[in-house]
Symmetry: C2
């Protein structure tokens, strides 16, 4: 396969910003009914009576919005071969129906694999922002990418 982006492209400070996407109440409820059916994600009235004062998106919903933006922005055009994990997720602010979300990715650091010369690690900061420019979710995660030019 041929890829637009390889490990070598993701140098510290490399950044990507997505367009924005508005989450509707219907989308928030549909996601939550399937994956995270807590009352403040699925039931407008119960959500009003909860400490959140209204419907909010599941944190997993916001995280998958980030993942989809990442895929469409650069990841499916890259040599990514998976992830060992995520070092933190912070749910910083509620996401409410009508919020327009956008995604920002920034490379924190990158290093070649010490055991496999065909690949390298990249550590990322991934953020989801709302229409006010507030960060609603932040993550630090690691991904593996094949190298354009394998080392020895």
């Amino acid at each position: 396969m041929s890829f637009k982006y390889h490990w070598e492209d993701f140098t510290p400070g490399w950044t990507h910003e997505s367009p924005s996407r508005t989450l509707s109440a219907d989308e928030i409820v549909a996601f939550a009914r399937e994956h995270d059916p807590q009352r403040y994600h699925t039931d407008e009235a119960a959500a009003k009576a909860s400490p959140f004062g209204g419907l909010i998106a599941s944190g997993w919903h916001t995280a998958t919005v980030a993942m989809r933006f990442m895929c469409d922005g650069y990841l499916t055009a890259s040599s990514c071969i998976g992830s060992p994990g995520i070092d933190e997720i912070r749910f910083l602010r509620p996401v409410r129906p009508g919020d327009a979300l956008r995604f920002r990715a920034t490379v924190i650091d990158a290093r070649p694999s010490t055991s496999k010369p065909d690949r390298g690690h990249v550590r990322w900061r991934w953020e989801v922002l709302n229409q006010a420019g507030e960060i609603v979710l932040s993550m630090i995660g690691v991904q593996f990418f094949l190298r354009r030019t394998p080392g020895r």
Copy 2:
């Protein structure tokens, strides 16, 4: 509202184990097409040619399987009022079509909120296991729960 579980119930070592759920290739592809359309999650042939040697579930899919088991097992019957975040997610083994997944939650520690006497924090280890008993995904996360008996 009345809840079966409050903060006081989640003492260190409290544990819950779910029944199992088998992920089909169709479910894996449908989730990934919507949220994580990388080739080894959406395309059988491309997945065969990838380092994974076949279709694997998005890590987000496995994480939301955990979330749904958590909700059905105890969370929607609890006084949970959200989460500040997740301290780590580890994608330990690929999840393949036909794998039967189950979920295990264990309380690591719990403490009352120092600022809000009506609630407390609980730190959890959440694990997803396959039919061989192997842990395929592990997470450490924090949630807030209302107390049955608020402190002063």
